[in-house]
């Protein structure tokens, strides 16, 4: 197998693991995939603006991402009590940048969420993720993650689960 195919297979395995942990609301294990310095950004619409001057759905540093996860772990964050059953399909994975200490991977996702906490709706979420991954031994840590949701330019339903 070529180096390139090997790298793609490695990135795929990592993104699939992240997706599975998020789908199953395995909060601590999911958080463990993130680096000490993190930018976790869910912009309004396209990720083409400065999030320090314009609103975003999520613009977490490590500290705030930990707060987010801890709130979910209380078991009484009622928007996710019980956690939404979810399954997401991650595809179109490309390594778009290779760096000395890591890489950037881009992917698409389609996510089905059952919001059974209240309104009992099946919600479909679709979008694009850009992962900045730092190479650590034979795996990665996420140092940045940007998720563009296709219909996020005006409003979204409750997004209290891990995207």
């Amino acid at each position: 197998m070529s180096d390139r195919l090997e790298l793609i297979a490695e990135v795929e395995a990592f993104l699939y693991l992240e997706a599975r942990l998020a789908d199953e609301s395995r909060y601590a294990e999911w958080l463990a995939l993130f680096d000490d310095q993190v930018t976790y950004w869910v912009p309004k619409g396209r990720a083409d603006y400065d999030p320090t001057t314009r609103v975003s759905y999520i613009n977490d540093n490590r500290n705030r991402l930990e707060t987010r996860v801890k709130q979910l772990e209380t078991g009484v964050h009622y928007a996710q009590t019980p956690p939404s059953p979810m399954r997401r399909v991650v595809s179109n994975i490309e390594v778009t940048e290779q760096l000395d200490d890591g890489l950037v991977a881009e992917s698409n996702f389609v996510l089905y969420e059952h919001s059974l906490q209240a309104s009992n709706e099946l919600r479909v979420w679709a979008g694009h993720a850009s992962h900045g991954l730092r190479r650590v031994d034979d795996s990665f840590l996420i140092r940045s993650k940007t998720v563009e949701i296709v219909n996020s330019s005006r409003s979204l339903p409750t997004l209290a689960f891990l995207l």
Binding site: T53, I58, T74, Q117, P157, T158
Partner: protein, 426 residues
């Protein structure tokens, strides 16, 4: 624009019977006829918040909004006038602007190429020889009345609601002044954009939960477990007989939570010590004088509802957009201030992201409660009790009703005005 008798004739439910001083029939949230009637009596015949003039600083800048369910454009004209226009071609009714925000030099319709100026006047059309009505009748519709206070732009579609001053009353005007005076130059600068949260509940549940001081310790307990040192713990959750925060009904449906009475220090609302924002404090003193400045530094921004759709949510402004009896969009923007350092407004933006929106730490739980209320009321009713604190509420000299922060004074104030508008007082 719409006839106020339309919704009435079609509605089998007598809206006047749904509300008492302390109860609300669940059908006020679930009934399609009630919703249709609200669109007429509240959102067409009454004053509705549209936007803030700072959102459109330059000529041609616009935002698109809805009044009730009717799409409008708020646009700045070349002479700096803020116009509110129907977002609907006067010819065949196509929306002129689809974007939420932007800049336009004119307002063309895609269908037949009619083009309007920033004041809504028809500027041109292809093949004008066939025009069979007066050109003056081809301007874009406008609300019957548009008015502004400190940059807050309101519209009344029917034109029959009386003056904006009457709608706001001294209480509402004071709230808008208070929010604006927090800026050291006396004006807001709402330029960070809006986020919307789609919720499967009636719009009124947002008017209630945004102004409910009783639920913080229960519904939002997960946040306090994780962030135990916010200004709200002392203000609201220290124990029923200890907390000093209060609720206030200012009349006309404008209601308030006075968290600030329970703060334990100045600038608790901003979460920084005074030294960190000394330039801000000095500029504030310069403009409004030491006494008012010290008060403002303690209070921070108001937490209040301007009936029916504007929520002054401390470091946020929110618009409650009714979509259907069981659908609402709760939009918010950070309360950015003109005349402060960028770092100050960045702090406001960060706080706003933490609390508000679909992925905030607070609003998702409010949405869950609102959606479960909507489910609970089903179709045939059930009654909601809003009597909490009637045993201890106080009426002040100016008519304001005041009570414990956990008391349902805001809910009762909101529904009293709703009942007034939904029955035949005119």
């Amino acid at each position: 624009m719409a006839s106020k008798t339309n919704g009435l004739a079609a509605n089998a439910l007598a809206t006047g019977t749904l509300v008492t001083d302390t109860t609300v029939d669940g059908r006020a949230y679930t009934d399609d006829g009630v919703f249709a009637e609200e669109l007429v009596r509240i959102f067409t015949n009454g004053w509705v918040f549209v936007g803030h003039s700072s959102e459109i600083p330059e000529p041609g800048d616009y935002v698109t909004r809805t009044l009730g369910r009717d799409p409008v454009i708020m646009i700045r004209d070349r002479d700096n006038t803020v116009n509110v226009l129907a977002n609907r071609c006067a010819h065949r009714g196509v929306t002129l602007l689809q974007q939420e925000v932007g800049n336009a030099v004119s307002l063309p319709c895609i269908f037949h190429g009619w083009t309007y100026g920033l004041d809504g006047a028809l500027k041109g059309m292809p093949q004008p020889g066939g025009l069979s009505i007066a050109r003056d009748d081809c301007s874009l519709d406008r609300p019957g009345q548009t008015a502004e206070h400190r940059g807050f732009v309101f519209a009344n579609q029917s034109g029959t609601a009386g003056s904006l001053e009457d709608h706001l009353g001294p209480g509402g005007i004071e709230l808008l002044d208070w929010a604006s005076d927090l800026s050291p130059v006396g004006s807001l600068d709402l330029n960070a954009g809006w986020l919307g949260q789609e919720v499967s509940s009636n719009w009124k549940m947002w008017a209630e939960s945004d102004l409910d001081g009783y639920h913080l310790g229960s519904l939002h307990r997960s946040l306090w477990q994780v962030v135990p040192d916010s200004q709200y713990q002392a203000a609201v959750m220290a124990g029923e007989n200890i907390v000093k925060a209060t609720t206030r009904d200012r009349g006309r449906g404008h209601v308030e939570l006075e968290f600030w009475r329970g703060y334990d220090r100045q600038l608790a609302w901003l979460g920084v010590p005074r030294e960190r924002v000394s330039d801000y404090c000095e500029a504030l003193i310069e403009r409004v004088g030491a006494e008012r400045a010290e008060e403002l530094l303690w209070q921070g921004p108001p937490h209040a509802l301007i009936f029916p759709n504007l929520f002054l949510g401390e470091m946020n402004l929110a618009i409650i957009e009714p979509v259907a009896a069981g659908r609402t969009i709760h939009h918010h923007t950070p309360l950015l201030l003109a005349g402060v350092a960028p770092s100050f407004n960045q702090r406001v933006l960060r706080q706003s992201e933490a609390a508000m929106g679909p992925a905030g730490f607070l609003l998702p739980d409010d949405a869950a409660a609102a959606e479960r209320m909507q489910v609970a009321f089903g179709h045939s009713g059930g009654v909601m009790d809003l009597s909490r604190g009637t045993n201890r509420e106080v009426v002040e000299a100016n008519g304001d009703r005041v009570g414990h922060v956990s008391d349902e004074i805001p809910g009762r104030g909101f529904w009293r005005h709703w009942h007034h508008l939904m029955t035949d007082h005119r």
